[in-house]
Symmetry: D2
C-alpha cells in the first residue's frame, strides 16, 4: 500500500452539464494577460536551461511576475503604425550567484522575453515598438533545493499550498478550447488578418450556447471595411462548424460585438493584440493551466506561469492535478466529473503531499469502490513520478495558460 | 413582476461544511498582492474624486494594474534598514482630457499610492525606501459612459462578463477572516511587533482545522530572539482563542513554520511586509472581494480592485453578488449555501444583467418555493439599486480585497 | 623649496576686459541642469555622511550622473497644476558593501534627491508631482582609496585629468553672478513670484552690456497679466541698480524676451522651474564650479557636481584651481588675470600634481619675478592643504555649480 | 557690403603652440559619453527623416538628452559575458502631432538608438544585453519654425546663444585626432581586439608630448594575458608611428596605465566599451563638435548632438563656426590661429547673427587688413549659406562629437 495520504470521496451533486448556466472563457495567446504568462514561462525555461548548462542543476527562481503596459497605435486598412511602444517590465527573482558562478539573469530574461514576443507576435517590430525593462531581484538558492535530475533526492515543497485540476471538460469547455485551438492552429494560417489576441467566451444557458468572440484583426492584411466584414463572416462560419462537432445544443456566435460598422469603428489593430492600444496585462490573471477560466469549477488563484518548476507547489501541483484528473477519466470508466486537489506541506518532499484528494461524481450505476481503487492507484503512480512534470515544463511540453 | 431575468435553482450537493477537505486563505493588508490591490483601489478612488470635483461626473479609468517590485532589507533586532527601495509601477489607464479639462492623472495616481502606502505601512520611510513610478495610459471616455450620480440614466456594462459571490461563510472561512480581522483590529495595537503582512491559511481535514500563519515581525519592536519567540506564543494563544469562538472542531495553530530558531533564522522584517525582501506583488492575484481565497467555492479571476466602479462588470458584479448572497442569508431563512452569479451583456444597462442566477442549497426541510421567491425579490431590489455599489466604492466603504 | 612641479608663466595678451565681445551665462538654481547638479552633489554628500558614520571612512562613489526628465504643467494666474510629474533618474555608482557593512545607497540617494528638491523648489509637491527613480550601480572601493580624515596618507588621483580656474572676474562676470545672487538672496524673499529658474546671460559688446534674463514666474503669486508685467518692471529696475554697482558701462536689461504680451503668452510656471514644462536637465551641462559659463575663458568639461570629493580630479582640481586663482588675486598685487591648471597623474598623491601651471597677465608695471614667487608659494601651500577641499565639499561649504 | 554684423579683431597673444602646457583629449566612439552623443544625434536624424517623409518639413525636436546607465560584465579571455544589461534612457522632446499627422516619436527614437548601438558596438548583443527605455516628452512646433528646405524663408534663432570654433589645430590636437582616427579607421580592422572605447589624452609640456591611451580590449579576440600584452605593444608602436607624422617633438605613449600585469588585472571587456562595466554616459559631456576636448581653447558647453538642426543655435553655430574657422585657414594665408564666435539673438533669422566675431592671431609679417577682408568675406558667404549645415547634419555628413 502507498505511503501517501490519498483520499477519494464521492460527490453527490448536479453535474455541471446539467446545471442551468455555465460560463467558460479563454484568452488567446496574444491577449495581454496571456502574453505576460507566456513571457514569464519562457523566462523561467531560459533560466532553467542556463542553470543546467552552467552548473548541472536547476536553481531557485520565480519569474511569475511582470507587467505589460499597453502602447498606443494607429491602425489603418493596409497597415498602420504603433505610436507608442509596448512596455514590458520583468520582475520576480532569480539566483544570480551559485558556487562561484555568476548568472546573467537579467540578460537571460530579456532575451527570452524578446524572443517569445517575436515568435508570438509576428507583426510586432521588436526593434521599434517594444521596450523590455527588467527589475529582476536577487533570489538565493537554499542548498537543499538544488535540483539535479539524476539525483534520487526529491525537492521539498516551497510552501503550504495546493493545486487543483478537473476532468472531463464539459461541452462548453471543449468548445471554447477547441475553437481557440482551431483558430490558432488552422484558421490563422489561411487568414493572417486574424490576430493572436482572440478571446472566446462561452455562455451556456440550459441548452443554448453563446460564443462571444473578440478577435483583433491585423490591419496590414485588411484592405478595407468590406474585407473586415467578410472576415467576420468567414470566422463566424468556421467557428460554428467547429463548435458543432462538440455538441448538439444550439449555438450562437457573436464576433466583435463592440463594432459600429456604420461609423467604421471596428476592432482593427497593427499587431493583432490589444496590448498595442490600451490593454495592460499581468502574469497569472488569465487562463488557468488547463487553458481556460472556469468560474463554475474550483480554481487556484496561483499563477502557474513563471514559477520555478522544481519545488513551487503553485506550479507543480496545478499542472499535476490537472494531469491526474485527465488520466483518471481516460483510464477509469464510470467517472462523470473528477476534481483533484493536491495539498503540500512546506518542507516535505513534493511526492508526498499532505493530502491528495479526489472528489468524484460517478456515472450512473458505476461501482464507486472499484473506481476509487483505480483512481488511488493513478494518483499514487503520478505522484511517484512527479519530477516528470518538472522536466516536461522545462522542455516546454506543458502549457501553463 | 420584475423585468429582470432572475433564475433561482436548488443545488443538490454535499454542503462544503460536510466535505472532507476545505482550504481557505487570506493575505493580510501588508502582503505584496494586497498592497498592489490597495494601491489600485486608492488610485481609482482618487481619480473618481478628482473627476467629480472638476467636472461633476465620474469618468472612465481602470487602474486595476500595477506591480510591486520587492526591495532588499537587512532586518536586525532593535531596528534594521532597507537596502534597496521597494519599486511600485502604476499602470492601467485613465481619462486625461474631457470637455476641455485636463486631469493630472499621473500626479493623482502617485499621490494616492504614496498616501495609501504611508497609511498602511507605518514603518516604511516614504522619502527613502520607496520608488513610485507611473506609466498610466490614456483612456478615452465614451460620452455614453459618463456617470453623473444625479442622472436617472444607468451606465451600460463595459463587457460581457460576470461576478460571483457566496454566503454564508463556512466555519473555516469565518475563522480565517475573523483571525485576520482580530490581528488587524486589536492585536497589532497592543503588539506593534506584528507586521501588516500576515497570511492566514486554514485547512480543514474533516473535523481538524489547521491554521498556518505567516506573520512578518517588525524588528524595531523586537529586542531579540527570546522576545520573538514570546511574541509567537502570544500570537498563538490569542489566535487560538479567537478561532475557538467560531467552532467546536479541534484547532491547530502553526506560526512561521519556516523559522529555524536554532540558527536564529526567523521571519523578521524592517517594515512588516515581505515586499521589502523579495516578494513581488500584483493587482488581482490575492484575495477576492470577500476578503478570502476559497478554492472550494466558485471564484472570479477578475481583479476587483482598481477597476472603475461605474460600468466595469468585473468590479461591480463581484461586489454586488457577494452583497446579494449575504443579504439573502441574512433575510431569508432556510438557506445553507447560496451562490450568486451575475452575467452582463456588453452595452446593456448594468441593472439589467443577461442573467442573475442564484444556486441555493436549502437547509433540511426548508420550503424552496418560498425561499426562491424571497431571493428573487432581494436580487431584484439590489439590482435596481446597483449604483449604490458605485457610490459606496468611491467613498471607500466597500472592501475589494 | 617645494617638491611640487609648479610653473608660472606670463601671458602676453589682450585682457578680456578690453576685448570687443564677452559672453557670460549663469543658470539659476532652479534651472533643470542646475537641479541635476544640485541633486548629484547632495547625493554625494549624503553618501559621504553615511560612509563616515558607518565605517569611519569615505568610500568610493560617483553620483555625477543623472537625468531630469521634464513634466508637463498647466500654469494659471492664481495657481495652476502639474499635469505630468517630473521624473528624476539617479545613476552613477557607489560602494554598496565594505568590510562586511552593507550601505543602502539607493535609499540614501533617493532621500537626498527628494530632500534637495524639496528645499530648492518650495512650490513642488513632492508627494504628487515627482518621480525619483534610481539605477545606481555598484562601485568597488579599492583599499588604497579609502580616505580617513585623520590619516596622514593622501588619496591618489583617480585619473590623468586636470582642473582649471581663473580670477579675477571681469565686470560682466561679476554682474551676472551678482545679479543672480541678488535675486536668490534678496529679491525672491520680497517677491515670491520670482521662481528659482532664473537664467542670466550677459553679453558685452565693447562698452555696452546687455543682460538677457529668463525668469520663470510662479503662478500662485501672480493674480493676472498686469501683475506679471509689473513684476517684470520691478525686476528690471532692481537688476539694473545692482548691475550698475559693478560697472560704469551702459547696461541694457531684457526680461523674458519670448513673451507675447498681447496674446497673453508669458513665462508663467507652477513651480518656478522650466523642468515642469518641457526642459530636461543633466548633470555637468550647466555652470562650472565658479557659478558661471564663460566661453571666453578656459573651461573644463568635467562635471564637478556629484563626483566623489576624495580622489576625483575632475572635482577636486576644478575646485582647488578656482580657489587658488582667487587666493592669488586677493593676496598678490599686480595680477590682472590669472589662470590656474592642475594636471594629475593617475595613481599619484593628489597633493602632487604632474604640473601645477599658472598663467598670469600682469598689471602694467608689475614685477613679474616677485609676483611669480608669491603665486608659487600660494599654490604650494594650497596643494599641501588639498584635503581641506574634500572636507569643505562634504560639509557643503563649496559650491559646485 | 554685407548686411551682417561681422567683426574681425587681431589677437596679440602667445600662440598656443608656444605655450608651455597644452592638454587635448578625445573620447572614442565607444566611450559612454560618445555613445550618448551618437544615439542623440541618430535619434534627431531619424526624426528629421520621418518628419520630412510624412509632411514635407522638418519639425521641432531636441533629443540632446539621454543617459547611458552602465551594466556589469564578466570579461574572460576568449569571451566573457554581460551580467547586467546596459540601460539607455532616451529623453528630450519631439513634435508628436502636426497638421493632423501623428508621429510615433518614441518608436522612431528607440529604433534609431538600437540601430546606432548595433552598428557602433558590433560585439553587443542587442537582444540580450541592452535595455532602451524612452521618456521623450511632447514638444510643439511653432508654425513659424517649420522648416521646408525649398522655402526661401530662414528659420529664426531659438535662443540668445552662441557657437564657437577654432582653427588650425595645434600639433597636439592633430595628433590626438589623428591617432584616434587611425585606430578607428585602420588598426581595429586588423586587430579586432581593440574595442571602440579608446580614450586618447595628449599632454604637451613644452616639447614633450605624452599620449595616454585608455583602450578597452575585446575579450573574445584575446586568448590570454600574453596576447593582451602583445596587443598593447603593437598599439604602442602603431600609435607612435602615426603621431610622429605630425610632429618632430618627442613623444611618449602610455597605454592602459591602470593595468596591473602581475595580478592579471587588465582592461579587458566583453563589448569594447566601459559602459558595460560601470561607466555611465551622458549627452554633451564628451567631445566638442570638432571631435576634441580642448581646455586651452574657448569652448561652448552646449551639447551639439541631438539638438534640432533647424534653428537650435547651440548646434548650428557650433558647427558653422568650426567650419568657418577651418575655411579661413584653408583659403586665407597668414593666419596662425583663428577663433570664430557666432552670437544669435532669439527670434532673428539664423543667417543674421547679432555678432559674428573673428579673433585672429596673424602669422609673422602678415597683412592684417587683407586677411581681415578675406575672413569677412568667408564669414558672410558661409552665413548666407547657413541652411547647408542643417542639410548636411540631417544627411549625417557632419560629425557632432
Amino acid at each position: 500500500m502507498s505511503s501517501r495520504n490519498i483520499r477519494v470521496e464521492a460527490l453527490d451533486q448536479i453535474p455541471l452539464e446539467q446545471q442551468q448556466i455555465e460560463l467558460v472563457e479563454r484568452k488567446g495567446i496574444g491577449h495581454p494577460d496571456s502574453l505576460a504568462d507566456g513571457i514569464a514561462e519562457s523566462v523561467s525555461q531560459a533560466l532553467c536551461k542556463a542553470y543546467m548548462e552552467e552548473c548541472g542543476a536547476y536553481l531557485h527562481h520565480n519569474s511569475d511576475q511582470g507587467e505589460i503596459v499597453a502602447g498606443e497605435s494607429q491602425p489603418k486598412y493596409g497597415g498602420g503604425s504603433i505610436i507608442k511602444p509596448i512596455y514590458v517590465l520583468l520582475d520576480g527573482r532569480a539566483t544570480k550567484e551559485f558556487e562561484g558562478i555568476t548568472f546573467p539573469t537579467d540578460a537571460i530574461a530579456i532575451e527570452a522575453a524578446r524572443k517569445y514576443l517575436g515568435s508570438t507576435l509576428g507583426e510586432l517590430n521588436l526593434e521599434r515598438d517594444l521596450i523590455v525593462d527588467c527589475r529582476l531581484g536577487v533570489g538565493s538558492t537554499d542548498l537543499r533545493d538544488v535540483f539535479r535530475p539524476c539525483d534520487s533526492k526529491l525537492p521539498r515543497a516551497n510552501d503550504t499550498s495546493f493545486g487543483v485540476g478537473h476532468a472531463a471538460f464539459s461541452e462548453t469547455e471543449n468548445i471554447v478550447k477547441g475553437v481557440s485551438d482551431y483558430i490558432d492552429g488552422d484558421l490563422r494560417k489561411k487568414y493572417p488578418m486574424i490576430g493572436r489576441d482572440v478571446k472566446v467566451m462561452g455562455l451556456r444557458q440550459k441548452d443554448e450556447i453563446t460564443l462571444t468572440i473578440g478577435c483583433a484583426m491585423v490591419d496590414r492584411y485588411c484592405a478595407g471595411l468590406s474585407e473586415y466584414i467578410e472576415m467576420k463572416e468567414i470566422l463566424n462560419e468556421a467557428v460554428l462548424k467547429v463548435a458543432k462537432t462538440y455538441t448538439s445544443r444550439s449555438i450562437k456566435i457573436q464576433i466583435n460585438t463592440a463594432d459600429d460598422i456604420e461609423r467604421g469603428s471596428v476592432y482593427l489593430t497593427v499587431t493583432g493584440t490589444s496590448a498595442e492600444m490600451g490593454d495592460d496585462g499581468s502574469v497569472g490573471r488569465g487562463n488557468r493551466c488547463n487553458g481556460l477560466i472556469t468560474p463554475n469549477r474550483p480554481m487556484s488563484m496561483e499563477a502557474t506561469s513563471g514559477k520555478n518548476p522544481i519545488n513551487h507547489i503553485g506550479k507543480i501541483y496545478n499542472l499535476l492535478s490537472t494531469q491526474i484528473a485527465r488520466e483518471c477519466v481516460k483510464k477509469v470508466d464510470g467517472i462523470q466529473e473528477i476534481y483533484i486537489r493536491l495539498l503540500s506541506q512546506i518542507g516535505m518532499p513534493i511526492d508526498h503531499p499532505l493530502v491528495a484528494s479526489a472528489q468524484v461524481l460517478p456515472a450512473c450505476g458505476a461501482d464507486f469502490t472499484s473506481i476509487s481503487r483505480d483512481i488511488e492507484g493513478i494518483i499514487d503512480e503520478q505522484l511517484a513520478d512527479v519530477t516528470c512534470v518538472t522536466e516536461k515544463v522545462i522542455r516546454g511540453e506543458l502549457n501553463t495558460f
